[in-house]
Subunit: 269 residues, 2 copies
């Protein structure tokens, strides 16, 4: 555990508010920047940090400047930082936390640039166990990566290096594995809610599905009517769905059918 790292966080959204408490295990969060002062203050107050909505007022002597804003806002922010000549006066390591933005989006922010990407899902108001965060790191040199590794190692032992290209593909896989799977649960919840039932009814099923996916692989573990090519059940299901649910059901089923069409069926659920 490295004590004494001083961090400035640029951003106050989900990633910033969930990552900051993890960082505060070992680092000191000096300051939160947000273009909306109220957002900066709200997060800063939980961390004993100062808040600012003015980039020119960024504290100059932090060890890390962590940009945790939406992907499409990073380049606008870095352009402003360069215009204000801040990189020249602030010698800390500049990081971003994006899965899909390349390291090069930080070009021109001085020496010591890195990607500090938490491979985890964050929602404001939900608490994430810091040790469950896999940190994917990329730096402009070995020393930068080493410093980022020490910062991360205070809260997780899941740390690995991944270049911009590989990280983009891992982020894409994470979208399927997390965002898209969650959307399927959201649809299940909708269907159950119409009957006054809760998603917790399906929790043991979902847990077993995940356990099996990890144990024998999700391709081999696939079950269900589309996997079996059971058109009667699929048609009965379609008759129960709203138009928008129907189009999702159809497209996911088609994708499953297409993956298994040349393989003799041996699964049922």
């Amino acid at each position: 555990m490295t004590a004494g790292n001083k961090c400035v966080i640029l951003g106050s959204g989900n990633v910033a508010s969930c990552l900051a408490p993890a960082l505060s295990h070992s680092a000191e969060i000096l300051q939160i920047y947000s273009p909306t002062q109220q957002h900066a203050s709200a997060l800063a107050s939980t961390l004993g940090a100062t808040a600012t909505d003015n980039l020119s007022a960024l504290i100059p002597d932090a060890d890390f400047y962590i940009i945790a804003v939406k992907d499409d806002a990073i380049s606008t922010l870095t352009a402003t930082l360069r215009k204000l000549d801040i990189p020249a006066s602030h010698r800390g390591i500049w990081c971003h936390t994006s899965g899909s933005a390349p390291l090069s989006v930080l070009d021109g922010l001085g020496d010591g640039r890195c990607v500090f990407y938490p491979l985890q899902t964050f929602t404001h108001g939900d608490t994430v166990e810091p040790s469950s965060i896999t940190m994917l790191l990329e730096g402009d040199c070995a020393d930068t990566v080493q410093q980022a590794r020490e910062l991360a190692s205070a809260f997780t032992c899941r740390i690995q290096e991944a270049g911009s290209e590989q990280r983009r593909r891992i982020h894409l896989a994470a979208v399927f594995a997390s965002n898209f799977a969650n959307h399927m649960w959201s649809k299940a919840q909708q269907i159950l809610a119409a009957d006054g039932l809760d998603l917790s009814l399906l929790e043991p099923l979902i847990e077993a599905t995940l356990r099996k996916a990890v144990a024998i692989g999700p391709h081999r573990g696939q079950t269900g009517p589309a996997r079996r090519g059971d058109k009667t059940v699929m048609e009965a299901h379609l008759s129960l769905l709203t138009p928008s649910q129907t189009s999702l059901y159809q497209c996911v089923s088609d994708s499953i059918i297409s993956d298994y069409k040349h393989i003799k069926t041996d699964s049922a659920s």
Copy 2:
């Protein structure tokens, strides 16, 4: 726990082979029927049961006859049973294990008919913890349901009654929650495998997503580029995908966008 129930299982696929060991905690599995003698024998040998490929040779004095065949094969099987006059000579309770078939598919199989539906995913060669199986029961009378409840209670405390219509909707929700979510993990695995990486990299992420979905609801917990309406990231993702992955990505993203289009974004991942 009810000792001494004698069961005959009709079927030797995933459901039969995963449910039979759970049942054998309290019941005696007398016999396995399959139209393929070899399949019947393979399962029977693991249970100390006899095997047959001949419906006329079904043991007459079992307490439960459990039909665990594919949904679209149930009605063919029950038609044959009726034609052979077996229901008249076999006084036990006739069950099926299907999520989507109604109780009425068992009409004509004597008194004592029930649905004994395990709300779980089964794949041959994978071991399911019996206590993780939620049993949804429906019977032709209260006494039948009570007997089925006693049979199930030997291996799980997750037991509830659900009529045919409600069970159909729960089964549909389960397809989204289990089969479809698993397919998303399968796509993630495909993408990772191209980089020599394994799904286990994403296990902490998937677990946190599930925990959050149960804690605050999957709708509120949704994150990702489609949730944020981040078109730049989505376009970058599309450029990395194969045509069949592209159509799945597009349709799930469209469904997410459509669910959140009127709501101010406050999530990021």
